[in-house]
């Protein structure tokens, strides 16, 4: 029964205009963002620019971050980017006092004048440059303790500041040296087998679209029975609610992942061509592995939101909810585009073919993230089945909508 329904649902989706619109959008987006992609070449000594390196050792991170903190403390205002837009935060007196205590705890500086004097002395009387206060970190300051205190500051500021755990590394950036660039290249070739880095970049771009597009398909599918007045006819069939909803959901995921996997063949072929005649050992399955592990949970969640809200309300509410969630996620992840800072973001970013170490060191963080969203989507799908079965029995179906009987009666 399930397989029959699954095949039917796949055929239905293949006939859906929205589905082909989604495929068209994926193709256009791929070629506009990754169409001109060229495979990285080995860096040569004496090049003008090797790009930027983010992060550094623990001392660099502490120096730089506390420099920002002291500057902003002196200024009385703190720059935050909760969803990528600038927001200046002025903390309450109590919070400001606590930040002062944290500065004292981490740098030994206390009181506005004392800090200003220390900075002036260190800079030889030069004007304070924003974000670059030359503060001395206390020698006995432990990095874990430092991270905890910075997170406390970030919480007081409402999130999205330079002190959030996933922003600390980004506070230190410097032009890459030839040696660093060579190490990155070697990691890409030897550890990532070339395709790994490009698969992450592919997932980074496709994740942006798959965080929103599946909801359109799910809502369209959910509303189609109602539009074609088939709800009652399907409700009285033998097929169980589990089979009906699970087959719909599975069909959506299959049909959405097929074009993604097909598109991933383009960069794969480019990598194979670049590696031919060289000693590079390509991982041919990298794109498939990354697409399923990285992109599938995003697709599952966006589709599940559409599924559950359409079953619940019989409206396109899922689209609006998902747009808001997508908007907040995409803009708040702008600071972590260099990869390695995945956190609990719905759309993890890794907008570079390099930074293998960032990926490798934070792999379990990413795995937990993806696991969480896969689990959440399954919970939402199960909830959809529950709602659907209640509606089939007529328990929630009040004139087609749960709150339908609360509508105002009118003459029009």
């Amino acid at each position: 029964m399930f397989l029959n329904l699954l095949a039917k649902e796949c055929r239905q989706i293949a006939k859906s205009m929205i589905y082909w619109l989604i495929v068209g959008i994926l193709v256009i987006f791929y070629f506009s963002q990754l169409g001109g992609m060229s495979i990285a070449e080995k860096p040569e000594p004496g090049q003008e620019n090797y790009g930027l390196a983010y992060g550094g050792d623990e001392k660099d991170v502490m120096d730089s971050t506390l420099g920002y903190l002291v500057s902003e403390y002196m200024n009385g205002k703190y720059a935050t980017y909760p969803i990528g837009f600038y927001k200046a935060v002025t903390p309450s007196e109590a919070d400001e006092k606590r930040i002062g205590e944290i500065i004292e705890q981490t740098t030994g500086l206390s009181g506005g004048e004392n800090i200003a004097d220390a900075i002036e002395e260190a800079q030889g009387g030069a004007q304070i440059v924003y974000g670059s206060s030359p503060v001395q970190v206390k020698e006995d300051l432990d990095y874990e303790e430092f991270k905890k205190l910075m997170q406390e500051v970030d919480d007081m500021l409402g999130g999205g500041s330079n002190y959030a755990a996933d922003s600390l590394e980004s506070n230190v950036s410097s032009p890459k040296t030839y040696e660093q660039a060579l190490e990155d290249y070697n990691n890409l070739i030897e550890k990532d087998h070339l395709t790994g880095g490009y698969a992450r970049l592919f997932c980074d771009y496709m994740g942006i679209l798959l965080g929103i597009l599946p909801v359109f398909l799910a809502v369209t599918r959910g509303l189609r029975d109602r539009r074609s007045k088939m709800q009652e006819l399907i409700a009285c069939r033998k097929a169980s609610s589990v089979s009906i909803i699970a087959s719909r959901y599975a069909a959506m995921l299959i049909m959405l992942m097929v074009p993604v996997l097909l598109l991933s063949c383009i960069p794969l072929v480019q990598c194979i061509q670049a590696a031919s005649g060289t000693a590079i050992r390509i991982d041919y399955l990298a794109f498939a592995k990354y697409s399923l592990g990285w992109l599938l949970p995003t697709t599952m969640t966006a589709a599940a939101v559409g599924l559950v809200l359409t079953e619940l309300t019989d409206t396109a509410l899922g689209v609006l909810v998902q747009i808001v969630w997508w908007f907040l996620t995409v803009f708040s992840s702008m600071g972590s585009m260099h990869g390695g800072a995945y956190g609990w973001s719905f759309i993890p970013r890794h907008n570079t073919v390099y930074n293998y170490m960032g990926f490798h060191e934070n792999f379990w963080e990413l795995a937990a993230n993806r696991g969480l969203y896969a689990t959440l989507s399954i919970v939402l799908a199960v909830f959809s089945i529950f709602i659907y079965s209640l509606k089939r029995k007529g328990r929630l179906d009040i004139r087609g909508k749960i709150l339908g009987n609360l509508k105002r009666k009118h003459k029009a």
């Binding site: 959008i25 837009f85 396109a316 689209v319 808001v324 029009a412």
Partner: protein, 205 residues
């Protein structure tokens, strides 16, 4: 005239409230995630053209929603009042509402000490709202599908963030932040054309 006022009244009573409520909620919640005080010119423009302009999709796209059912469309067509007149009144009301909400939001930004070129920012953002809403109206009319109506302007928005200026040229929506207003004139005109085309197509379906 009386019958048009009656259409306006019914639209205000039955169709506008839900979408207006969503738009107002989005504006009211914006201080939680955006800076809305003491912003320099470019950040004020950014808030308006990247966040507030999204209201165009919310308020304009669903103007054909009440007649999603073809039977209802047939019924309305059987009346003396042209269905395109009904649609035009709805679009006009949504546009006036957008202008009002935008005006209030700009006034709040100004009151909070943000740097603003009030008239230019108002016109530019309204033009963008009409274009994004126009894209929604046009796609809805073309496909007879509300979801497609939402999808197309959302995709336009995503593209604008990617390689926007390179591909969208005069229809690039985020130009105010870099001090350019020519694009907004194109967006305004494009929005009007898309809305008119959408109403025309829907009127014939």
């Amino acid at each position: 005239m009386a019958k048009y006022l009656e259409i306006l009244k019914e639209n205000t009573k039955h169709n506008i409230p839900v979408h207006t409520a969503i738009a107002v909620i989005l504006l009211c919640f914006s201080p939680l995630v955006l800076g809305v005080s003491n912003l320099p010119y470019e950040d004020t423009a950014k808030v308006l053209e990247r966040y507030v302009a999204l209201l165009g999709i919310i308020l304009l796209t669903p103007v054909f929603l009440p007649e999603q059912n073809p039977d209802l469309r047939d019924l309305i067509r059987s009346k003396y009042t042209k269905i395109t007149a009904v649609y035009s009144i709805r679009v006009l009301e949504a546009a006036v509402l957008l202008a009002f909400l935008l005006g209030v939001y700009i006034a709040v930004l100004h009151y909070n000490g943000c740097e603003i070129h009030a008239f230019r920012y108002f016109g530019g953002t309204l033009g963008e709202m009409l274009f994004m809403g126009g894209l929604g109206i046009f796609s809805f009319a073309l496909t007879d599908n509300l979801i497609a109506g939402y999808m197309v302007p959302v995709f336009y928005y995503i593209v604008a963030f990617g390689s926007g200026a390179k591909y969208l040229k005069v229809f690039y929506p985020f130009s105010m932040g870099i001090g350019s207003y020519d694009e907004k004139i194109w967006l305004f005109a494009g929005g009007l054309v898309l809305i008119a085309a959408g109403i025309f197509i829907r009127g014939r379906k």
